[in-house]
């Protein structure tokens, strides 16, 4: 028993406590979502009334386009996370495997560029995309493609680091022997390295997906058509100004639903994260 406590028990204890910490605000949101009065102060941790009115209102009110927002968010987030993972991984591969002049500076620059306060750059982004909209309406304001391009600007960032760190731990002997066997660098990249790093790809895909789902600052100035908005923008509109009180129940419902795709993506990617355990054992 003591042995179990020492080896496994403490783990459960830590996990349960953290899960409690993680869940309690969410339970609060859940109870607000189920409460037909749906206002913050009337919400208790334990729901006082249970009804799905808020969910129904959210999905049926004509001035909200929750379903559209949901689809928009999913499409943009999935597309952007896949594309940015690819771009980012290519760069991470180069940074980890190759030695070239400017490598160190490049890495540092990637880190630094992320540190400029974003809200100021909004005006500049507006300037750029006004022109893009004039020239290429398909990638302009109110289009998911334009937003996607914009998000890909951030593809080389923290995630590149994460992947580079992971790649550094994959032994170079693998690709070098393949080179000796006559494989091209592209073959090594796609056939050997890519499958090996599934866990970190899964983790970064998850991070990118969540990041895009929650992105608000840029999407708010970019998407103006009620139908083209993402969840973060649309739902923020439900909370600002004098509409907040009455919308809170619906907002809580929307927040919960918004977490569903993220959790779905996580559950789907989880097996890759776990499988990583065996992939890691490749190192010999």
């Amino acid at each position: 028993m003591i042995r179990w406590l020492k080896r496994v028990g403490w783990r459960h204890l830590v996990l349960l406590l953290t899960v409690a910490f993680a869940l309690f605000p969410i339970i609060f949101v859940l109870s607000a979502a189920l409460n037909p009065l749906g206002t913050l102060s009337s919400s208790e941790l334990i729901p006082t009334g249970a009804s799905l009115d808020n969910f129904e209102n959210l999905l049926t009110r004509p001035d909200l386009h929750y379903q559209r927002w949901f689809v928009n968010s999913l499409v943009i987030s999935l597309a952007s996370s896949f594309a940015s993972i690819f771009l980012s991984f290519c760069a991470a591969y180069a940074f980890s495997r190759m030695r070239f002049a400017g490598r160190r500076i490049g890495l540092l620059a990637l880190l630094l560029i992320q540190m400029f306060p974003q809200f100021l750059a909004i005006v500049a982004i507006f300037i750029i995309f006004t022109n893009v909209t004039e020239l290429y309406p398909a990638f302009g304001f109110n289009t998911p493609w334009g937003l996607l391009l914009l998000y890909l600007g951030g593809a080389l960032g923290v995630n590149t680091y994460l992947m580079k760190g992971f790649l550094d731990t994959v032994p170079k002997e693998l690709d070098e022997s393949a080179t000796v066997d006559g494989a091209t660098h592209a073959q090594i990249f796609f056939r050997i390295i890519l499958p090996l790093v599934a866990p970190i790809l899964a983790v970064t895909a998850m991070l990118a997906f969540i990041g895009t789902m929650n992105e608000f600052l840029i999407a708010n100035v970019f998407l103006l058509e009620p139908e083209s908005k993402t969840l973060a923008v649309g739902m923020y509109g439900m909370l600002v100004g004098d509409v907040r009180n009455g919308n809170f129940g619906m907002f809580a419902a929307g927040t919960l639903l918004m977490a569903v795709p993220t959790v779905g993506v996580f559950l789907w990617l989880q097996k890759y994260i776990v499988n990583g355990l065996t992939a890691g054992a490749v190192k010999g």
């Binding site: 080896r7 783990r11 459960h12 953290t18 993680a22 605000p25 969410i26 771009l87 180069a94 495997r97 190759m98 490049g106 630094l112 560029i113 400029f116 306060p117 809200f119 100021l120 750059a121 982004i125 750029i128 020239l135 290429y136 391009l149 600007g153 951030g154 593809a155 080389l156 923290v158 994460l162 760190g165 550094d168 032994p171 693998l174 070098e176 022997s177 080179t179 000796v180 006559g182 091209t184 592209a186 499958p195 970190i200 983790v203 991070l207 789902m213 969840l231 973060a232 739902m235 909370l239 977490a259 996580f266 989880q270 776990v274 499988n275 990583g276 054992a281 490749v282 190192k283 010999g284």
Partner: protein
């Protein structure tokens, strides 16, 4: 994952020279895959170039066209050549990085040298137009005409009906002329007139631009369309005169002279017209950062809290995230999937929404926290509790991220290493301290630095929860939880609707310099570690 077994096989016969990069080792054989890859990449590049070019030609953006051409050539060269292998991997991401991150930042920084902001957004011409349009008033006693848009010999004409006398006049850029024989509808619009082609609403609307531009000169001023169905005779009291580079008011005789240093029209008393224009003001914004009393007086206090906030956020989230990841990192723990899903939930909820929820939970009288604890603490209203609350919220929001990346990084640590340390007789704690933690830190230090930078500028958390408050009673400018960024936001006037972008950009450059310095120093310290490990 299907290729894995063969990978394992080839991994055992590794070359012993780790300093050698793949491209330098062997002359490459041209394979089908190689060719197909080239064709696909170049096809995409060519297609994009073909898509990008026509609109640029149409709009005569020659410079942009040249740049697209050069960029295409460079990309083509990089992928056709068998050399420059790193470039092949870096180019795609770099293009986006330059276009949508670096370029906006450079444009923003360039505004730091201007007075760009509310009241000084556009060009001098814009300001003059705005001043003149803003001073248009209806000529006293003039009729409010009903307007019909018509064509005469293909040229746009206003058919103006005086609503009281029902007389009809035709207005063109040359002036007014009488129209006879016009047929009027009951709304007072002209239905038909000899010699004119009356335009209906839709056709008229299509010529909206021409209609707004048409000015019919009259004795007292000019007649302009007011929409599509009415016109009025107005006069401009303020006019720009090029000879004195000034604006004069015809009625009061007042005069405002252009001041190119501040981008405003100023009168003798130093009063400026509201509509100004954007001018280059050199380093004035930067010197203002130093001379601004509000900034210099509180900079140190804000800076210290800012560092504390960022450090505390990184440390608490990392420690909790890592502990949880370690707790799960054992084959003995059951229910891993369930745990993981629950642990990721805070991260899956939209952050801005949860910040608001947390703020409400900290409410003194209505908040869940006081109710559960049975306390009566004004959490957000007192400096130290507000700071604590912010760090706690940030912990909640951020630990799943650290949990995820630590989990990812833990996969990469070879079990053999940890096992080896156990064989050597080290306790699990020693094993963790000596093997796992250092390896984790190598992989995660850049992320920790970047998380530090993110939290250093974590504008949302402050803005949505405390907005910098609580404020000391004798200081309504700087609050106890203000970060440099939220403080910038306020000092530059974003809070109030009249923003001073130039000044904000200048402050941001300073903030950037501070964060960058801290990060570079931290980054350099990881260099030694990294080189050893890789």
């Amino acid at each position: 994952m299907t290729t894995q077994p063969s990978v394992t096989g080839s991994g055992s016969s590794g070359s012993p020279d780790p300093g050698l990069s793949p491209r330098s080792s062997q002359p490459r054989v041209i394979t089908t895959g190689f060719l197909v890859g080239r064709v696909v990449v170049l096809g995409i590049v060519a297609a994009l170039a073909l898509y990008a070019v026509p609109p640029l030609i149409e709009s005569e953006s020659w410079l942009a066209l040249g740049v697209v051409g050069v960029a295409t050539l460079i990309v083509t060269y990089a992928y056709l050549s068998t050399r420059h292998v790193p470039a092949k991997y870096l180019i795609p991401g770099t293009i986006f990085l330059i276009a949508f991150q670096i370029l906006p930042v450079l444009l923003t920084v360039s505004t730091a040298f201007t007075n760009f902001g509310d009241g000084h957004r556009g060009s001098k011409e814009d300001a003059i137009t705005a001043i003149q349009t803003g001073s248009v008033t209806q000529v006293a006693g003039s009729p409010e005409y009903n307007l019909t848009i018509a064509l005469r010999d293909g040229k746009l004409v206003f058919l103006l009906v005086n609503p009281t006398t029902k007389s009809v006049q035709a207005g063109t850029a040359d002036g007014l002329s009488e129209v006879t024989g016009a047929e009027l509808g009951i709304t007072g619009k002209v239905l038909a007139a000899p010699g004119f082609e009356v335009l209906n609403g839709a056709t008229a609307a299509e010529r909206g631009k021409e209609i707004s531009d048409l000015v019919v000169p009259t004795e007292g001023g000019a007649i302009k369309a007011n929409g599509l169905s009415r016109a009025f005779e107005g006069k401009t009291s303020k006019r720009y005169r090029a000879d004195c580079d000034c604006v004069t008011d015809a009625e009061t005789g007042q005069k405002w002279v252009a001041d190119a240093d501040i981008g405003s029209f100023v009168d003798d008393n130093g009063q400026a017209l509201a509509q100004g224009w954007q001018v280059n003001i050199g380093l004035a914004n930067f010197t203002r950062v130093f001379t601004n009393n509000t900034i210099s007086a509180h900079f140190l206090a804000v800076f210290v809290w800012n560092v504390v906030f960022a450090l505390a956020s990184v440390l608490t989230t990392f420690v909790l995230g890592m502990i949880v990841a370690l707790a799960l990192h054992s084959p003995r723990v059951r229910g891993k999937k369930t745990y993981r899903t629950f642990l990721v939930l805070p991260y899956a909820m939209p952050a801005f929404a949860m910040l608001l929820v947390w703020r409400d939970m900290f409410n003194t009288d209505f908040g869940l926290i006081n109710r559960l604890l049975g306390t009566d603490i004004d959490w957000i209203g007192q400096p130290n509790t507000a700071r604590f609350a912010l760090i706690l919220m940030n912990l909640w929001l951020g630990f799943p991220y650290m949990f995820l990346v630590t989990t990812g990084a833990l996969q990469a640590i070879p079990k053999e290493l940890v096992e080896a340390s156990t064989v050597d007789g080290a306790s699990p704690w020693q094993g963790f301290r000596r093997v796992t933690l250092p390896l984790l830190l190598v992989a995660l230090t850049p992320l920790l630095i970047s998380s530090f930078a993110f939290n250093f500028n974590n504008f949302n958390a402050i803005r949505l929860v405390t907005n910098g408050g609580p404020y000391a009673i004798d200081n309504a400018s700087v609050g106890a939880t203000d970060l440099l960024i939220s403080y910038t936001y306020r000092v530059a006037g974003f809070d109030t609707g009249t923003a001073d972008f130039g000044f904000a950009a200048a402050i941001s450059v300073f903030i950037f310099a501070i964060v960058a310095t801290i990060s570079v120093v931290a980054f350099r310290r990881t260099r030694a570690q990294e080189e050893v490990y890789s």
